[in-house]
Symmetry: C2
């Protein structure tokens, strides 16, 4: 796109480098590292007697996810690495990969438990039968529980892949993003408010916890793997918060505009369940305008960070906006 004949010569450096950035290539290279890492770490220490647990764990994690959370962690790490000059394989890059994949495990376990009959009772996920349909409810419950623990195992490797003080920082952030102040808390608020007309502040609080906390943590944990100035970290937190909320607004829009085959999960279920959403609150056009405003805020936060290597983060924000599923 930077080759376009009428590209404005007054483009800001941020916009210029952003438009020159090839997200597809970056994504492909990152995913070529993420997928094998998930597969390899899931397989570490496998023993035959535990196959009944390992099988649903692998099924829940491998083969199907967009890997947005690991991508965000690696993109944040890339932004920091360009600043602190520690780019390259090993060291902090390995730590960021572990951080992103640990968040992915939390995300995967939450989907397994969410889909269970006592929660959303969903039978389709990523175009495949959900874990409890395939492995039974007890298997799904245990696999989810074990995936949560495994996330913290991946953050605390026995080798020296992550310095101990950084392990502590990453565990602290992930626990809070996953727990009652984060994802689990948001889900509880969600459950308690089916059929209730929330105002926007309450809806925002719910979604910031339920979906946003983990996305924001992905960015923050990737950024923690390095030596960025406090101001840059604070700006990346704002980027993550805006992106996390934008993700949920787009999710609400897709729930009413997309079909199940495209989504890879049951469409229209929030509306059917009479759950409060950004679309029910703001209308479809209002929700779209809100998503655009959050996108703008996310990009502004990247500018505020003072980091120059934020192209992948900017491109991922665009991806979140434009996604079809």
């Amino acid at each position: 796109m930077s080759q376009a004949p009428h590209a404005p010569e007054t483009a800001t450096p941020q916009a210029e480098s952003s438009s020159a950035f090839d997200l597809a290539a970056w994504n492909e290279a990152a995913l070529a590292r993420i997928e094998p890492a998930l597969d390899r770490w899931l397989g570490e220490g496998a023993v035959p007697s535990r196959e009944s647990l390992d099988a649903p764990m692998r099924y829940a994690v491998l083969d199907g996810g967009k890997r947005l959370r690991p991508l965000l962690a690696l993109a944040a790490r890339a932004a920091v690495a360009e600043h602190d000059g520690t780019a390259g394989p090993g060291g902090f890059d390995t730590a960021a990969m572990r951080a992103g994949c640990a968040v992915e495990l939390i995300h995967a376990y939450s989907l397994v438990h969410d889909d269970m009959p006592c929660m959303d009772n969903d039978v389709l996920r990523r175009g495949k039968p959900t874990v409890h349909v395939r492995f039974g409810e007890a298997g799904a419950l245990l696999a989810g529980d074990a995936l949560q623990a495994l996330a913290f195992e991946w953050l605390t490797p026995a080798d020296s892949a992550i310095p101990p003080a950084l392990q502590a920082v990453l565990c602290a952030r992930l626990a809070r993003a996953a727990g009652r102040d984060g994802m689990a808390g948001g889900q509880a608020i969600d459950l308690a408010n089916v059929g209730v007309a929330l105002d926007e502040a309450a809806l925002r609080q719910m979604h910031s916890a339920k979906t946003g906390a983990l996305l924001q943590a992905s960015v923050a944990m990737g950024a923690a793997c390095g030596a960025a100035p406090a101001q840059a970290l604070a700006a990346l937190e704002r980027y993550g918060a805006a992106l996390g909320l934008a993700f949920q607004v787009v999710d609400d829009i897709l729930d009413v505009t997309a079909d199940s085959a495209t989504l890879g999960k049951t469409a229209g279920k929030d509306a059917a369940a009479d759950k409060p959403t950004y679309v029910s609150l703001l209308g479809l056009d209002g929700a779209r305008a809100r998503a655009r405003a959050l996108h703008t805020a996310a990009l502004a936060a990247l500018d505020d960070s003072g980091l120059r290597g934020t192209q992948a983060l900017a491109a991922l924000a665009a991806l979140v906006m434009d996604r079809s599923h």
Copy 2:
């Protein structure tokens, strides 16, 4: 008992100090610190919008447990503190309290999930309705999930209550004890083997993971809060392993010898479910002999530790043997 007129003059120092130790008083003093700590930390950061999650979390943890895991952590810390001379409030004692209470959260969440209809479908626990009976299945599922995350929050306090490197050690150990190589893995093996005649090696592997890993971790995590020699830590690991297995053997014995009112949960359910147990494998007398042998091994490990302040650990081993529920 050291005042008994005919006490042998050749008693070993270990036996002498152990018999002079007043476990009831030690327990009472420890519980007077544990219960308020659980209550206070559970209440930290409570917000009204999350009451639907906080209520089942508090219900699952407070008011009823024996607190064996925190007691083991504090007893191990006490043994190490007498060695390294760092006894006293604050510092490592606070870390050990957080460690023990974090293990208690994992234990509590496992009971909540175990009791759910898709697992053991139990309606009575500690003499009260189980969490899903009281709060619904979705509430129980989410509360268990949030309790697991909260355990890692308690190990990674924002203040300096635990040095970062120790936070990393504690998170690493708890994650492995709770996850697929520990509790969750043992439960999966258990589920997969209902109605199957396991040999003793397989039964031991299952129980070492399902129940033993968390008890052993309680000891190891408490002992990590200090500066004990590696040989002492290795001996305490052996103590924890023997105690953990003894606990399960006694559990199997109680399942067939005690009534539900004494147990505070449904008696005879393992036999009714045709689960392999130490009683079904060794008979009642054989199981009792095995428990006694494990008790002896646990006390021998304490002697091997070279630590002098192991009286509370020795007394807790006796308590595990003599418990009625």
